[in-house]
C-alpha cells in the first residue's frame, strides 16, 4: 500500500469541490480510461478572480486528492497567479506525494492549462492531442515536449523519475531508450548518434518466420493498445506473401471508421515498421 500523508488521505476521503460547473468559463480534460486516471476541471472566473472550481476524477487516491487540492488552491486566486501554479504546488499543498504518484499532480497542472486555453477560446473542453512534438510513449500517449518540460520543471534525474512524473515508460517499456536520450538532451549532453547501418526497411533480410514474428509484434505493441483503449481489438488472421489479413474485434468490428483505422493505423504502422510493400486486408 502506498504511504500517503494525512492531508492526502483527508482530500481523498473528503474531496472538496466535486462536480460539474454548468456555467464554467473554462473546462480542461486530461487523461483517459486506458491510462488509469483522468481529470475534468471546471473554472468560473469573475473580474479576473477564480470564483469557483470543480472537478471530476477517475483514478487512485492521490489523483482524487490532487484534484481536490487543485480546486482549493484555485478558488479566490487571480488568474495571473493561478496560471503560475505547477504540479509542485499541488504536491506541496498535500504535504507531499509518493514519488511514484507525482504524475497525479502533473495531471492537475495539465488540466488547469487546458481550462485556461479553453477559457480563452484556444482549445475545446477536451484536451487537444495535436502536439507538434514526437510521440514517445505510445502506451500512454506522451509526447517529447511534455517529457522535456517535466524534466526541466522538476529537475528529473532518471528515467524512473520521468515515469513517475509523466507515466511515459510505465507500459511496455519500449520507449526507455528514447527517454534516456531525452534525459541526456535536457541535461545538455550531446547524444552520440551512431552512423546508420539500418537496412532500407526493417524486415529486409529477414526469414519468413522472423518477418511474421515482426508483424505479430507490431500488431501487439503498436496497433492493439490504441484499439483496446477504445474498447476494440484486432486479430491477425493470415499472412500470405505481402498480404496481411486481419479481423477487427469488439468496438472496432462494425465501426464506421474501421476502414480509416485499417489504413491510417494498421497499414501505416506495418509499412513503417516492417515493410512498405505490405498490403493489409480486413475479413
Amino acid at each position: 500500500m502506498w504511504e500517503y500523508t494525512d492531508k492526502v488521505k483527508d482530500h481523498f476521503l473528503n474531496p472538496r469541490n466535486v462536480g460539474i460547473l454548468e456555467d464554467a468559463d473554462g473546462v480542461g480534460e486530461v487523461g483517459s480510461l486506458a491510462c488509469g486516471d483522468a481529470l475534468t476541471l471546471y473554472i468560473k472566473v469573475h473580474d479576473n478572480i477564480i470564483t469557483d472550481a470543480k472537478f471530476q476524477t477517475f483514478g487512485c487516491a492521490s489523483a482524487i486528492a490532487s484534484s481536490s487540492a487543485l480546486t482549493e488552491l484555485l478558488i479566490g486566486k487571480p488568474v495571473e497567479e493561478a496560471e503560475k501554479l505547477t504540479n509542485k504546488d499541488i504536491a506541496e499543498y498535500l504535504g507531499g506525494l509518493p514519488r511514484e504518484k507525482m504524475h497525479c499532480s502533473v495531471m492537475g497542472q495539465e488540466a488547469l492549462e487546458q481550462a485556461f486555453k479553453n477559457m480563452r477560446g484556444e482549445a475545446p473542453p477536451q484536451a487537444e492531442h495535436s502536439h507538434e512534438g514526437e510521440l514517445i510513449c505510445e502506451c500512454f500517449g506522451i509526447f517529447d515536449e511534455e517529457i522535456l518540460r517535466a524534466i526541466k520543471e522538476n529537475n528529473l534525474q532518471t528515467v524512473e523519475d520521468i515515469t513517475n512524473f509523466t507515466k511515459a515508460g510505465g507500459g511496455c517499456g519500449k520507449c526507455i531508450e528514447d527517454l534516456e536520450k531525452l534525459l541526456a538532451q535536457a541535461k545538455g549532453e550531446s547524444v552520440c548518434e551512431t552512423p546508420s547501418s539500418e537496412p532500407a526497411f526493417p524486415a529486409q533480410g529477414m526469414t519468413n518466420i522472423q518477418r511474421m514474428h515482426l508483424i505479430e509484434s507490431v500488431i501487439d505493441n503498436d496497433v492493439r493498445p490504441p484499439l483496446q483503449a477504445d474498447g476494440g481489438d484486432i486479430k491477425l488472421v493470415d499472412i500470405d506473401g505481402n498480404e496481411v489479413v486481419v479481423q477487427f474485434l469488439g468496438m472496432c468490428s462494425g465501426c464506421p471508421s474501421s476502414q480509416a483505422t485499417l489504413h491510417n493505423l494498421v497499414a501505416t504502422k506495418l509499412n513503417e515498421k516492417v515493410d512498405p510493400d505490405l498490403i493489409v486486408r480486413e475479413v
Partner: protein, 392 residues
C-alpha cells in the same frame, strides 16, 4: 474496528490449532533435527510426521516431498533443476498468467541466459488453448510450468490433461499449485505432474515455509547445496517450526476440504452474486464454472481499484486489487490484460478471496457497504456508461 479479511489468496491466518502445535518447538524442543542426540532426534520425528501429512494431502510418497522456504523457492528450484538436468534443452513453456514466481523467473532466464520461453495466452475468461499448448511443445523443451489455479481469478487449469501431454512428449511438467493446495482435492497418483510447488502461508501455516513435490525418478538437481538435509536435495537447517506447522495445516486442510468446497463456496457465491446484481456495470473476471471455491474477481467499471480498496479499508474490509496503482506499475494486472479485459473494467478490479474463517455476517456487511462506496466513487468520476455513449 473488526477486520473482514477477504484477501486469503495473499496470505491466511495461522490456524490456532497450528499455532498451538508449534509453540513447544520454539522454546522447549529446539534441538537440531540433524543432531545425533535424542533432544534433536525427537524434532526429526516431528518433521517426518509433517512430511507424511503433506504427502497424505497430495496422495504421494513422503520421500517425494522436500521442504523449502516458500512457494517461489519451490517454483524456482523446479525450473532450474530441469534446465540443469537437460542443459541441451533451451526452451520453456509457461503461461502469460503465471504468478511472478514463475513468470519473472522465466523472463529472467530468457533475458539473462538466452532461453526461449513460450508464454501461452488465454481467452477472455482466462482459459488456455490446448491446441496452442500442444503446438508449442518442441524437441528442445526442457520443462512445462503451468499453474494449477490462478491467484487472481481462481481459474483452475486442466493440469491432468496438460501433464499427460507433456509426459507423452517426454517433457518434464511442473505446476505451481500454491493457490490450489488445501482448497481443492489433489491426487498425485492420478495426475502425472513431475514437480509441484506449494506454500504454507496460503493454507493457514505461517509464512516462510513451502514444499516441493518431486516425483520419484524425476531427474533432480538441488538449488541449495550444502549439508545433507532433505536427502541432499535442499541444504540448510530445517525451519522446524514452519515444517511442523505446514504438516499440521495439511492435516487440517484435508479435514476441512469439504467445508472449503461447500460452505466457503456458498459464501463466495453469495458475495459475488450480490455484488454483481447490486452494482451496475460490474463484471466477473475468470472462468465462472472452473474456479477455486474461495475466489471472486470482480471489476467495477469506471472506477479505479486502489480508490475502492482504500475506501473499503476505511470500514474494515481487506481485499486486493489488480489495478495498476496497487501493483506499483502503471499497467493493470498482467492476468487481466492477458484476458483482454477492457480498460474500462481492468483498472477497477477487486479480488475477494475467502477462507474457512469467514462468516455469513461478514459477507452481509460487505454487501451492505460496498455498493454505496462504488456509487460515490462513480459520482466523482468523469466517466460513466452514459458519458461513454457520448464518446468521452
Amino acid at each position: 474496528m473488526k477486520t473482514i479479511y477477504l484477501d486469503n489468496n495473499a496470505t491466511t491466518q495461522v490456524d490456532p490449532a497450528v499455532f498451538d502445535a508449534i509453540k513447544p518447538y520454539f522454546t522447549e524442543l529446539y534441538g537440531n533435527p540433524s543432531s545425533m542426540h535424542r533432544f534433536g532426534g525427537q524434532v526429526g520425528v516431528e518433521i517426518k510426521k509433517a512430511r507424511a501429512a503433506v504427502a497424505s494431502l497430495l496422495n504421494c510418497l513422503p520421500e517425494e516431498i522436500l521442504f523449502t522456504s516458500c512457494g517461489s523457492e519451490s517454483d524456482n528450484t523446479a525450473i532450474r533443476s530441469a534446465l540443469t538436468a537437460f542443459p541441451e534443452k533451451r526452451h520453456i513453456i509457461t503461461t502469460a498468467v503465471e504468478h511472478p514466481a514463475v513468470l519473472s523467473f522465466c523472463k529472467f532466464l530468457e533475458k539473462k541466459d538466452g532461453y526461449e520461453v513460450t508464454y501461452l495466452g488465454t481467452d477472455e475468461h482466462g482459459r488456455l488453448d490446448m491446441e496452442e499448448y500442444k503446438a508449442a511443445i518442441r524437441p528442445d523443451t526442457a520443462i512445462v510450468s503451468i499453474m494449477w489455479a490462478n491467484n487472481e481469478t481462481g481459474n483452475i487449469y486442466p493440469i491432468k490433461e496438460m501433464a499427460q501431454i507433456a509426459k507423452d512428449h517426454d517433457v518434464l511438467f511442473h505446476t505451481d499449485a500454491v493457490q490450489a493446495v488445501g482448497k481443492v482435492p489433489i491426487d498425485l497418483k492420478d495426475v502425472p505432474v513431475d514437480m509441484l510447488a506449494l506454500s504454507g502461508h496460503k493454507l493457514h501455516a505461517p509464512k516462510g515455509v513451502g514444499a516441493l513435490y518431486v516425483r520419484k525418478r524425476t531427474p533432480f538437481r538441488p538449488f541449495l547445496i550444502g549439508g545433507h538435509q532433505e536427502g541432499s536435495r535442499r541444504a540448510g537447517t530445517e525451519n522446524t517450526t514452519g515444517i511442523i506447522a505446514l504438516g499440521t495445516a495439511c492435516e487440517l486442510a484435508q479435514k476441512n476440504m469439504n467445508e472449503e468446497n461447500t460452505r466457503v463456496r456458498a459464501l463466495r457465491d453469495k458475495l459475488e452474486n450480490g455484488l454483481l446484481s447490486a452494482v451496475p456495470n460490474s463484471i466477473l473476471n475468470g472462468d465462472k464454472e472452473n474456479r477455486l471455491p474461495n475466489t471472486a474477481n470482480i471489476s467495477f467499471g469506471y472506477v479505479e481499484g486502489e480508490a475502492i480498496l482504500l475506501m473499503i479499508d476505511q470500514v474494515g474490509i481487506a481485499a486486493s486489487s489488480g489495478s495498476a496503482c496497487t501493483s506499483g506499475s502503471l499497467e493493470p494486472s498482467h492476468v487481466l490484460r492477458a484476458m483482454d479485459v477492457p480498460f474500462t473494467f481492468a483498472h477497477g478490479s477487486i479480488r475477494f478471496s475467502l477462507s474457512r474463517f469467514n462468516t455469513e455476517e461478514e459477507i452481509d456487511f460487505v454487501l451492505e457497504t460496498l455498493p454505496p462506496i462504488i456509487k460515490n466513487l462513480r459520482k466523482l468520476s468523469p466517466f460513466s456508461p452514459e458519458k461513454q455513449g457520448l464518446g468521452l
